[in-house]
């Protein structure tokens, strides 16, 4: 997962403090900005289906690139190796199956502690997301009783926020909770 030589814009991610600043900047700055931007584009756009969807897709792609996604890619790389989930899903999209040696290499890239930590973090993220989904759904449902117009406007935003959360929460939790990385002395 996170290693002592992980950096972002020249800043080492070995220190938990730096990682927490990154998470704070993401949730305190970037996500609200994206939500406002999404809502503005969605409301003001004459062609809602076109511009709004494009903006949402591009934003989510950018977010996953920024925090690294569940897989190994991205700038932050909270998870070093690809997950087994990808190995299961990949054949469904008719891409070539990874060879046995590639699978072994992927497994070796993350040791047992990191794998168990990754799985635990995803469980915690699921538990949080489950509650959040229920809250957002309740909010959406109540908005329908209260104000139909507000529901029409807020519905996509709630869905957007839920998507950001589902895609970024495991990485957020890893970056927040992993202790300071040690030197390999």
């Amino acid at each position: 997962m996170i290693s002592a030589d992980s950096t972002l814009f020249g800043h080492s991610l070995a220190r938990r403090r730096t990682r927490r600043w990154l998470v704070g900047a993401f949730w305190g700055g970037l996500v609200p900005l994206l939500c406002v931007g999404f809502q503005l584009v969605f409301i003001t756009s004459h062609n809602q289906n076109g511009i709004a969807v494009n903006f949402a897709v591009l934003s989510i792609l950018w977010i996953t690139i920024w925090l690294g996604g569940v897989h190994a890619g991205g700038w932050v790389k909270p998870f070093r190796a690809q997950t087994k989930v990808r190995n299961i899903v990949q054949p469904l999209f008719a891409k070539p199956k990874p060879t046995q040696s590639e699978l072994i290499a992927q497994e070796l890239a993350m040791d047992e502690r990191e794998s168990s930590q990754r799985d635990y973090i995803h469980f915690v993220a699921y538990s949080i997301a489950r509650t959040m989904t229920l809250l957002l759904f309740t909010l959406y449902y109540l908005l329908g009783f209260w104000n139909q117009e507000l529901l029409r406007q807020a519905g996509p935003l709630l869905f957007f926020l839920l998507t950001i959360t589902l895609w970024s929460l495991p990485q957020t939790l890893i970056l927040w909770t992993e202790p300071d990385m040690e030197e390999p002395q």
Binding site: S3, A4, L108, D111, E112, R113, E114, M181, E182, P184, Q185
Partner: protein
């Protein structure tokens, strides 16, 4: 009771002698990690008792150090090896250390 690891064993609930054995053999965390095929940070987590290893990793460590598993890991605080092997009484230094900790 004098122990090599008087601190609580962290999240794992296991006491261990990995740090002592590693120091005794003069190897770094990285070297031990390479031998165990794990990340060096996992060795740090093990030494601090913050991670409970799998049976496979515990057996690999035992094999690497040439000791039985129960000599490396224990649910109870571990005695110093010298005291366990030779029945030595705690030295002044260890007794002083115990009182200060």
């Amino acid at each position: 009771m004098n122990t090599t690891n008087p601190k609580p064993p962290g999240e794992s609930g296991l006491y261990n002698r990995i740090a002592v054995l590693r120091a005794e053999q003069g190897i770094s965390r990285q070297q031990l990690a390479d031998a165990m095929d794990v990340n060096y940070q996992t060795i740090g987590f093990l030494e601090r008792g913050e991670y409970c290893p799998s049976l496979k990793l515990a057996l690999s460590l035992a094999e690497y150090f040439g000791l039985p598993v129960e000599a490396i890991f224990s649910k109870q605080p571990l005695q110093p090896l010298s005291q366990q092997v030779y029945g030595n009484q705690p030295t002044k230094a260890s007794a002083q250390e115990e009182t200060t900790s």
